[in-house]
């Protein structure tokens, strides 16, 4: 029996691993969907190319994590991505929030400052988690982290550039960025949480603990914020709830209905 299958045969290990994989998969899945809604609406054409490419990569990362779930018997990966109800999802709440008022089909008044702040904060947190996952006790997850990390490098560079440039621009740009930082911070808390299985997830060496991940994020962000003379969000509230334990908003339900529309026409079809 391989080291991996030995671990998986331990129900406590498997439960913790399953929980963590759902958090990783659901985060990337919904943030990639929100990113894809910007297609054709980004501030300029080069950004349209870049943002859609990043969203496509990110959907690919969600697919790796859903595949790892399928491999340990959690169910078919397409089902896991499309058919699970909102209360079964483990994504951080700030990732499900709508891009703005309207929809991408009608009257889309999306908020670019919010998009930049959300994606930058998330991508930096993802980078820290992926670095930690490279040392995960579950070898297939450690290997996936190596692959994801190479693509993530470009995403982080992209969002960090946007963040710094818009804040440095001053005037209305800076004001709107400051508002967006406040808005994202009011629901940033659960991004660093690991849900019901938190203590097992970290003690079994799947990923570092919640507090360490959060501290690393703050330590990485501090010089960026100081350099821009911005107040770094340290409170990290959860005004709308904790997505890691299945608390979600209407925004997620609407998103799931939209994104699974084609899947639901015929779940057995091979697209």
């Amino acid at each position: 029996m391989s080291e991996q299958s030995k671990s998986i045969s331990n129900p406590i290990y498997k439960e913790a691993l399953t929980e963590l994989l759902f958090q990783l998969a659901d985060d990337d899945f919904i943030v990639a969907f929100r990113g894809s809604e910007w297609l054709g609406l980004a501030p300029h054409i080069e950004e349209d190319v870049a943002f859609s490419s990043i969203s496509q990569d990110t959907m690919g990362h969600a697919a790796i994590f859903y595949k790892l779930l399928e491999d340990i018997g959690a169910g078919d990966m397409d089902y896991l991505a499309h058919a699970r109800q909102a209360e079964d999802r483990r994504n951080s709440i700030m990732l499900e929030e709508v891009n703005g008022t309207g929809t991408y089909l009608s009257e889309p008044h999306f908020d670019w400052a919010f998009a930049v702040v959300r994606h930058y904060f998330y991508t930096q947190a993802k980078k820290i988690r992926i670095d930690s996952l490279k040392n995960s006790s579950y070898q297939p997850l450690a290997e996936a982290a190596v692959k994801v990390n190479m693509e993530l490098y470009y995403h982080l560079l992209h969002w960090k550039t946007w963040f710094q440039e818009l804040v440095k621009a001053g005037g209305e740009a800076r004001e709107r960025m400051e508002q967006a930082v406040k808005k994202v911070s009011s629901n940033l808390g659960d991004l660093f949480l690991l849900g019901d299985q938190s203590s097992n997830i970290s003690s079994l060496g799947l990923i570092e603990g919640e507090e360490q991940i959060k501290q690393r994020w703050v330590a990485t962000m501090t010089p960026v914020f100081e350099n821009l003379q911005l107040q770094i969000p340290l409170t990290m509230e959860m005004e709308k709830g904790n997505g890691r334990i299945g608390q979600h908003t209407k925004d997620l339900e609407v998103a799931l209905t939209t994104l699974s529309e084609v899947y639901n026409i015929n779940p057995a079809a091979n697209w």
Partner: protein
């Protein structure tokens, strides 16, 4: 030798989005496994979200069946360990990319993560990066200030990032 036949078949499978280069020269082949009735081909995706993967899989299946006959069951699997890196592209592959107007990925990245490629059309080093992201996940958009042509380059991807 069946494995040689499989390799020959794979040399006919092109990247669906860059039809001057085959998947061997792109460095996508990891291993060919052979049992009595089964051929398993392990491929490395360039980028995980690449929509061309399903097309490549189908093309591999039909190319290999054509070469070895239908006595074998053919499995094509994408794995991400070891990860595909842009230095897996062969020197022949690097030339074939240029024919398509795509600069091969830089062999070395600078310490700050920056990188530079020459123009695939005129060879000039006087180029600028327009967009790290391009029309496909693995490509970037650049501009040559000498011959005034926009061009693309394969993005450098390495485990050192």
């Amino acid at each position: 030798m069946i494995k040689e036949q499989v390799r020959t078949a794979l040399s006919f499978v092109k990247d669906p989005e860059i039809d001057s280069i085959n998947i061997l020269d792109l460095g996508m082949l990891h291993e060919i496994k052979l049992t009595n009735y089964e051929i398993t081909i392990l491929l490395l995706p360039t980028f995980m979200g690449c929509p061309a993967l399903e097309i490549i899989k189908k093309n591999v299946e039909s190319a290999v069946t054509k070469e070895v006959g239908d006595a074998f069951t053919i499995n094509v699997e994408f794995i991400f360990h070891p990860p595909w890196t842009s230095d897996r592209i062969t020197s022949k592959g690097r030339e074939q990319l240029k024919k398509f107007g795509i600069a091969p990925p830089p062999k070395q990245m600078e310490k700050d993560g920056g990188w530079h490629v020459d123009c695939p059309y005129c060879g000039s080093t006087y180029t600028t990066l327009e967009n790290i992201f391009g029309p496909t996940a693995c490509r970037s958009i650049l501009y040559c200030k000498s011959c005034k042509n926009p061009f693309e380059a394969m993005k450098p991807i390495s485990t050192l990032m």
